[in-house]
Symmetry: C2
Subunit: 377 residues, 2 copies
């Protein structure tokens, strides 16, 4: 297997768009000769490839090293929707094949269904099982620190389910479970907009609200696996009752579920946020008020994260057509009006669209992350 220096090289290459041997040697404070030996082995193992950038007319360009897309493959399964989505990705995070199946809430039956779906997926790309490094699984809920047991998931109705063991038995693969928001943060860190950030927070805005942090270049799971539970921060003391048992949680004010509830309360003629936005555009004051309340609550929570943790960037991951018009405008304004005047506008806010398949790709990226960061000795 790779040694500790080679793992560091993998991490450097993943955070860049390719690096020269000289740049790697400087960064790692090792001699160029030592680096060359390490890289020779990795090229030989098929992990890396060399690319020669076009000359810019300033002498010979140095050869860049990159991860080979086909150096490793990962599977990901998401248990966050009505269907289980299963995807196959390469080392560049590209989805090569995907499938879906009905979600069976019985853990053993679910593990069997997933196991049966894997061989056809590999066959589509003429891959053999030994080219697969691992299978990641995302779910909504708490996962233990070994990423082996679903400690609690309200959505799945699970408590202390040893899903990794069940899946390993059926597939023979290394299994990594992860909370959905944390998996998406991992995915954005190794393949997406947060590649270069050592400290960032990702917020997921959907039927519920989640978040996850990277600190010092590492996913922060928290002492009880609960880091990022922004949904149940109290925003409006004494506000609407929440399914968690408390009142006035962010989830009761700004999630898509809360928005739909408010539309029903006001008997508005719309079924989703896109229609609510359209109504607000026409000047409907109830629609405007609902979007204002939600945007204000979400913006305030994000401002609190900026004040408390001062991340390098915030990534907001949202549903298609559900974070564009007034909602986004109010969120951005609320962030600016709730951070210290001296730091207004200093924290970049990106937004990305998540589809149902995104969770499965995020799950696969958790398996990739474990391969890169926590390779067994």
């Amino acid at each position: 297997m790779l040694n500790v220096h080679q793992q560091t090289i993998l991490r450097l290459l993943i955070a860049s768009h390719g690096m020269s041997r000289t740049a790697i040697a400087e960064k790692m404070k090792l001699s160029k000769a030592a680096i060359s030996t390490l890289i020779k082995e990795m090229l030989h193992a098929g992990l890396l490839e060399e690319s020669i950038p076009e000359s810019n007319g300033q002498g010979r360009p140095s050869v860049l090293l990159k991860m080979r897309a086909d150096s490793a493959y990962f599977l990901g399964a998401s248990l966050t929707g009505e269907d289980v989505h299963l995807v196959l990705i390469d080392m560049h995070g590209r989805v090569l094949a995907s499938t879906k199946m009905a979600l069976n809430l019985d853990p053993a039956a679910l593990a069997h269904t997933i196991a049966v779906a894997i061989p056809p997926l590999l066959a589509q790309k003429q891959l053999s099982p030994d080219q697969l490094i691992g299978l990641g699984v995302t779910l909504s809920g708490f996962v233990d620190e070994n990423q082996a047991v679903c400690v609690q998931s309200a959505l799945l109705g699970w408590r202390d389910v040893p899903l990794a063991a069940l899946l390993h038995e059926q597939t023979g693969l290394e299994i990594s479970l992860e909370n959905d928001a944390k998996a998406l943060a991992v995915s954005e860190k190794i393949f997406g907009v947060a590649k270069k950030a050592r400290n960032f927070t990702l917020i997921t805005h959907g039927d519920g609200i989640g978040s996850a942090h990277f600190f010092q270049g590492q996913l922060h799971r928290g002492a009880h696996g609960g880091a990022g539970e922004i949904a149940h921060c109290t925003i409006e003391p004494g506000g609407r009752p929440c399914r968690c048992g408390k009142r006035g949680c962010l989830d009761t004010l700004a999630s898509l579920t809360a928005l739909r509830e408010s539309m029903r309360d006001k008997a508005l003629p719309c079924r989703d946020v896109a229609e609510l936005e359209a109504l607000a555009m026409k000047g409907n004051s109830a629609a405007i008020a609902i979007l204002h309340q939600a945007g204000h609550a979400l913006g305030l929570s994000i401002a609190n994260i900026i004040q408390m943790n001062d991340p390098e960037m915030i990534v907001i991951a949202h549903q298609p057509n559900a974070f564009d018009g007034l909602l986004k405008t109010v969120v951005m304004q609320a962030i600016d009006s709730h951070v210290l005047p001296a730091i207004i506008g200093k924290t970049p806010i990106s937004s990305i669209v998540i589809h149902q398949e995104s969770w499965a790709r995020a799950a696969a990226s958790v398996a990739a992350y474990r391969f890169i960061v926590q390779l067994p000795d």
Copy 2:
């Protein structure tokens, strides 16, 4: 100088009450022979000492290694009060000597005053200047990432003051500046209650409110040095105006300044929190209401930190006699009533008393931390 493995050994010993060679070898995944060689050098350099624990009757006890108290000395200066406190500490964090002088707000004059006060302090303990490793300085405000420049301090009226350069010129010492709350967190990490915690948050409750985090075993300064700015999280939208320009910040509700302001508003016959608590004990409803409001706001903020970051522990650092009675009770209740029911009571909350000299000791610990964690190659 020490190599990277020897730095790791220092960190392990500082986080423990002494470790055997075998335990260190296991922890570092190195051979016992390799560890013995590394430690031999450190014993020879006078950094470590051996201690033989009393036998518990179960065979020969293994020799424990500890940091020698006199292996290194550090100075610390605090600029957070009316006087500058200057202390000398050893490698166990003990204050060996201290002095104080009036705070001169002119940076060059201040650097001169501190420089002049150092030789008498060393003389008290018969130390020579070459036994000193560095000087740490704490202040209320923002410090740049190199810990060299005070970027902004409202209390000192400073902006972009290159204090480290001024002090280095006058003293010849390596200088590390740090925000007061961050310095106190460092102090509790290397010498205090948070020794074993890799992820914790320290809250300072005084005239203002501050906080600081350790994540993955490292002080988290944030992208703009602003991590921990809990004081200006909005707790009561549209509430009391704050000196930061916003309204309803935690500082306007729960700081000692806010408590004194509320006492004056209600014309209560008391001058400090101890007297306010005494009044509340007698059943004065205005005093009770003030303590409730402050305790609720502080507890809610701490609950938000627990939800968002799920730290291993929270440390509340407070003034003597200002966090005992009703205030503390309400804070604890508010924490429990604002975290998810599933995690109530799972995050240990410690409280420690801070005196004026504590900031100077914390400053010295910042110099010690730099020695341990960021020794030059």
